[in-house]
Amino acid sequence: MSEYNFAYLDEQTKRMIRRAILKGLAIPGYQVPFASREMPMPYGWGTGGVQVSAACLMPEDVLKVIDQGADDTTNAVSIRKFFEKTAEVETTAATSDATLIQTRHRIPEEDLTEDQILVYQVPIPEPLRFLEPRETETRKMHALEEYGLMYVKLYEDISQHGQIATAYSYPIKVEGRYVMDPSPIPKFDNPKMEMSAIQLFGAGREQRIYAIPPYTNVVSLDFEDYPFEAMKADGCCALCGADHTYLDEVIIDDDGGRMFVCSDTDYCESRRAAGHVGAQGAPQNQEVSAS
């Protein structure tokens, strides 16, 4: 029996967060300010995502938590345990079994459904922040749809690197109106953002919530002569042989030896269970932990 209120937060706080979520869903991509609470973890460790999840969780939910695609890294494990203790909900590593998925910096490879909610952890919600430090200015820019500066950033990339070099947090335009930071997911994941599930974004330190409802139009910004490309490392997963997933690079010895494996651990396991084997694949049940 837990001495906490269900999912840690008191009911009034949850209602406040739900109001923010509803606003966010009503205005896709718009950053809704909310009164972020103190959570039993420091800022920068997913407090925004945790608050959004806490407000959404129902006792019958099945929760999955991933960090960089993996269920078994420290942060994912901590957050999952946090909800196991304070909400006593069922948890899982299987994407298709989950009803609510909290993620840091990746979108699962498997297509999500209308019955699922994806909650992103966001460090800096403001896509223009690094070019325009003033909050007063960036709010005006969003209000007046003045996004020239965002294109300046892409221009700078091309002039310095010959291509748009932004590899993650690649800015998107949502429903043709708001420019949004999708959180530090690799740009490879951007096309997945047109999906059937509800996407919610929580930034605890910056105190913002935003949302993308299902089937919303999401366009990654680019130039006519430098169109957006969702890129990933060449090659296949060494364990399951997939050539269409986002790969993590793993250093395996002191000589700099490396292998590429699927960043989405659950997806990789499912593939191996189904019989796919990669170049360095081992029979299923033998896991290599991604660092």
């Binding site: 700078e156 310095q160 130039f223």
Partner: protein, 256 residues
Amino acid sequence: MTPLLQVKNIKKNYGARLGCKDVSFDLYPGEVMGIVGESGSGKSTLLNCLAGHLEPDQGEVLFNTRIEGMRDTLQMSEPERRMLARTDWAFVHQNARDGLRMGISAGGNMGERLMAVGDRHYGQIRTQAIEWLEKVEISEERVDDRPSQFSGGMQQRLQIARNLITGPRLVFMDEPTGGLDVSVQARLLDLIRSLVRELGLSAIIVTHDLAVVRLLADRLMVMKSGHVVESGLTDQVLDDPQDAYTQLLVSSVLQV
């Protein structure tokens, strides 16, 4: 001919202190108006009121917009005014750093206004940026350098180019050559003169330097303690000043 800008009875107070009062004038296409005065004369206050940076307590600033004819810019909504400031108007700050993004390349600075009005072709944006850099005598090689790597004079020229790339009809300048070395000043004034003539610009230039105003301005307003004490043709006001203060100002200038 319709004036490009009609200023009527501008008044601005800072609490109990007077910023400027009873300022009215018309500006026609291709005209350059100089506003001179010493510190505290109210000239910068006036310029900022006209350019939309400060809200005056009274008065109208009517601008002949391209689509809707004469409109009081003080009554415009903020999005309209910001759009105006980005397209048909330009503001050259005394300190180039206030008018540039120091952390972005020269090309990026040049392209920002274009991208802000919807240009989405990298190659074309870059070509225009380079063309304009050449117009202000900045070499093409510097297009990817940051303004922090430029000299003061170059920064100022970059600021001017960045403002003019969208073809504004009215340019506000606040001490455009202030703080620059004398030889650099000469070059800059030369450039401003040519651009004004080539592009048919109208300009309002605030300065305390009478030599600058004689060079650049067709007409002149002399301000003291928030009031306009004299106005007229530049050469007439400087050669045959009528007002006591103007006479004092003109006679105080050191001869070289």
